[in-house]
Structures are given as structure tokens and as C-alpha cells.
Amino acid sequence: MANLADSFLADLDDLSDNEAYPEEDNAEAAGADEDGDDDMLDLEALNYDDLDSVSKLQKTQRYIDIIQKVEGALEKNIDLSNQGFILEEDPEYQLIVDCNALSVDIENELIIIHNFIRDKYRLKFPELESLVHHPIDYARVVKKIGNEMDLTLVDLEGLLPSAVIMVVSVTASTTSGKPLSEENLVKTVEACDRALNLDAAKKKVLDFVEGRMGYIAPNLSAIAGSAVAAKLMGIAGGLGALAKMPACNVQLLGAKKKNLAGFSSATSQFRVGYLEHTEVFQSTPPALRTRACRLIAAKSTLAARIDSIRGDPTGKAGRNLLEEIRKKIEKWQEPPPAKLPKPLPVPDSEPKKKRGGRRLRKMKERYAVTDMMKLANRMQFGIPEESSLGDGLGEGYGMLGQAGSGRLRVSAAQNKLAAKVAKKFKEKSYGSSGATSGLTSSLAFTPVQGIELSNPQAHGNHLGSGTQSTYFSETGTFSKISRP
């Protein structure tokens, strides 16, 4: 985990363009390297005896300097009206920037020390690390318990919630650990003390920055609150760097990378960093949180930019932005306007949508009037038609089967598709020339003349002459083809 944090810090170092803090960058890089090396050493030899080689931060000059200055400043309660200075040159501002960097370093240091304590205490009480997660709480508990085997003699009130105390006591009674050796115990307690000291120092530093945050960045702290603003500045590496970041990056500052290790990432939290702890964010309903965090990040970036040029020292712009954010979130929560029932449309005012296409044509063909039906509907002048029951009873046949018509036996109705296929067949001359269907014969028996031969070419044109134009006929060909 320390490695991750270190690499993140290293990335931010690359981001910041400010030439004014070369030594700070160096010190940070040095600190990062240090921690990185120590971590490697730590991994190699888990039971490292000497605490000092593991955690060096408290001995560095930088740390001591800054802590001294912070304490001095806290006691002095500096007069805040020295706004004549340009922000970057103000020594107070420098101190605040250093404090930001230091607080991040302290956090890393704490993680290393926690690992150290955990490794040492594993011999005595291995289950404790899974029951008490927070490193500072862990250090306090370890210090309180010491080398005691019987937990009923140890009073953990106030250090942990009572439910956890109960679980710890129960686990301790069945633990497989053995008491530590004297020197191990001493080292462990020393490490705990150091952890608690570092924690106290970090608190001091953060309090100091928070107190001055209203002076340094009034607009940003109006929106996000001083604690979050201080953290953001710290991790960004200064107000200038924070102002130069796009809002999407600001949203992610301080986001914890969840180490899933086998758990599904389907329920993972959306990406939001330190801004998660702002009051505005906490008070929005969970459904709107993604939109809200984007909004807050955008407005706080604006505020940071205003602060970096000292555009509004009173913080009024920040308060306005906060008001805007609140109003927008409220507006998202109001219910949609009620739907009015529409009156019915005027009948027959909207024409029906007609469909077309091949499918519809095929469907319509099933109900189309066939040639047979057409013939049956017409009669020739002066010639009585035949009927199904004879003598005028039953259905009349019209021109169907009468002598004058071109057809003798009317074949089944040809639809357009069959006509196209027939035409293709004709061209390829698969069938006998002229005959359109294999079943029609040229011979037929008629009542008047007996056997008749019909001219197959003539059958199409008779129908066409009276009623249908052969110009667009599917089966008709050129009426006159002259070959040269």
C-alpha cells in the first residue's frame, strides 16, 4: 500500500510545474525514495529488529523544522491581515504547502510502522489485526494490552466500541499466541508510541492548515470545507497546481484504489476522492451522488482558480457557488411534472399509414381478381352464357370457355411472378416455343367444332385488346421484329 501511495505522489511531482519549490520536490522525492527502500528492506526481512531503520521520518531535519514552525504558529495566532504579499512569496503560505506534503509523508510513515507493530505482535495475538483495522486504534490497543495474557485485567473502554471489545476479549481467551520476549515487547511499545506521536503531529499540522485555509483559499473552503480543502491542496502540491488541474482530476484526488483481490468489481464505488467527505456530498441522496460529485468537483475547481489569483479574498464567490450547487441538487430531486391526459384526436383527421413492398403485394395477390374471374364476369353480345347448373340456373360462366375467346382451357391464373419466371424460361427456351405452361395442350375439345387446334400466341392478346394495354404487359413481346 505504501508503494501505491508513493507512486501516486511521484506522479504528482511530475505534474507540478512550479519552479519555486525545487528543494521541496527534492525532499519529497528523497522521502519517497527512502520509504520505498525501507519498504523493500522491510519485505525482505520481516522480523526487522530495529525500529529506527524502518521509520526514519521523525529524525529528518525537515520534519523537525516544520513541526516547530507549526507549533510556533499555532501558539502565536498570526495576524491574518498581511494580504499585501503575493501569495506565493508569503512565508506562511510556504509553511502551509510544506505542511501539506508532510501530512502525506506522515501517513505513509504510519502505514510502515503499523506493519512493523503488526509483525511483532503477531506472535502474541495474531487475530487482533483482523479485528481492529485502523492503524492508530491498533497501536493504542497493543500498547494497552502489552504482554498481558488475561484480557479481563485490561480495560479497553474508550479505545474501541464495546462490541469490538467483546469480540477481542473472547478471541484473546482462545488465542494461540505466546507472550513476547522482553526486548520485543519494548520495541513494540516504542513503535506504538512513535505511531501515536506521528498521529498527533499530523493532527496538529492538519489543524494548522485548516485554520489558515480560510485565509489561503476562502472560496474553496466555502464550498468544500476547510479540512477537505486542506487535503486537496496537500495532495495536489499547492494551490497553483490544484488550480491548473482539470475538474475531472480534482474529482479523483485522494480516491482510494480498492484492492479487490478476488472480490467482484461490479459493486465498486464510483470514482470520487476527498470530495466524498464534503458536507454537500454527504447530504445528497445516494441516487444522485455521481452527478453531484461531478458538479462539486467542477465548482470547486472554479473556486480554486479564483483563489489562486486571489480574485475574491472575502470568499463570496465560493459561497455563491455553494448556493448554486445546493439549488441544482434540490432541482434534481423534485418530481417530474404531472402528465395531462390528451384529448382524443379528431376522427379521420390523420390518414392511415399505408404500407407497400413485396410482402404486401404477395399478400394482395391471394385476393386479386384472376383472369378466370374477369372472363367469367363478362359476356359476349348475343351469345347466351353457360351456367353451372344449366339453363340459366347456377353461376354463369360468361366468356369462360366460349368459342370466340383465345383460350380453350383456361390455365390457372398466372401471377406476375410466374409471368417473370415464364419470360425467363422463354428466353432460355426450356419449354416448347410459345407454350407458357407444360400442362396446356394445343388440342382441345369444343362443343361446336370437336377437336380444335389453338394458336398459343393468340391467347394473351384477346384479353388485352379490350381491357388491358399490352404496352406494359408482362408476357407480351414486340409486335413486330424485323431482322436485317
Partner: protein, 152 residues
């Protein structure tokens, strides 16, 4: 009398104005009294459907007990209560529903949809230029009544 949504007409000139001024919409005039039960049921159906058909119909209630309206009661020969008369562009629209009287609709409607169907049929016929339309409802849903002719 009637419902809050539908206007009630008590004077002759109000009825005249309604018939004259409703353009390109079916005018539904209900002649009836507030006390009658069938009348109240009809009023309920009319009120509920007034918004839905507002694009092609307007509805009004006419109080039969007012003196000025007696002219209309005599003209349209209204004896049974309630009676509904349809107009379109100041023409009186008749509807053949299988009853002896085509000039008006006697009685209530069994549902809102029936009323809307009837008004739509009147509208369609009127737009085509007809003065009498046939009723789209099946005979079970048409209220039947006996016409007495001089107490015979």
C-alpha cells in the same frame, strides 16, 4: 344542476348562441332535470368524457324546467327525460339506433366509451355531409323506450 365541468343553459339566447357558435364540432345538448336518476348518470358520463372529445365535440346541459326553454321542448318534442340532441354547424343530426325516434337519443349511456363511439359516428357522418347516421352500438346497449302517441 349538472356537473361543475359542463355549462348549463337556462335562457333561450344561450342555447341559440351555443348552436350558432359551435363551428366544426359536434354540439351535444342534454335536455333534462337535476332530480332524475337517469339524468344524473348521463351527466356523469358526459362530464367524464368532455375532456377526451374536446377536440371534436362540445357538451352542454339544458335545464328543461326553465320557461324559455319550453320552446325547444315543444319543437323537439321532448317528453322522456333525459334526451340528448346532436348538432353540427347548426344542423340537427339524426341518428338511427333502431328506436322509433331518430331525432334524439333517449336515456343514458352504459359506459363512457359508448358515448364516445356515438359522438364519433355523428362526427364522421357530418363530415361526409350526411344528416342522419346509423348507430354503432349493438342493440343490447341502446336503451329502449315506448313512444306514446296521444295516450294510445
Amino acid at each position: 344542476m349538472g356537473s361543475a365541468v359542463l355549462p348549463t343553459l337556462r335562457r333561450k339566447r344561450e342555447v341559440d348562441a351555443a348552436i350558432r357558435d359551435t363551428l366544426d364540432k359536434v354540439l351535444v345538448l342534454r335536455f333534462g332535470r337535476a332530480a332524475d336518476a337517469a339524468c344524473l348518470q348521463l351527466d356523469d358520463v358526459l362530464a367524464k368524457s368532455s375532456w377526451d372529445i374536446s377536440k371534436f365535440a362540445t357538451i352542454a346541459l339544458v335545464d328543461m324546467d326553465s320557461e324559455e326553454i319550453q320552446v325547444y321542448v315543444d319543437y323537439f318534442d321532448i317528453t322522456l327525460v333525459p334526451a340528448t340532441i346532436f348538432f353540427f354547424n347548426a344542423h340537427h343530426m339524426k341518428m338511427d339506433s333502431g328506436t322509433p325516434d331518430h331525432t334524439k337519443w333517449i336515456g343514458s349511456f352504459s359506459s363512457k366509451q359508448d358515448f364516445i363511439d356515438v359522438v364519433e359516428a355523428v362526427f364522421r357522418g357530418a363530415m361526409k355531409g350526411k344528416l342522419i347516421v346509423s348507430c354503432p352500438l349493438p342493440p343490447e346497449r341502446i336503451p329502449r323506450f315506448q313512444l306514446l302517441f296521444k295516450d294510445v
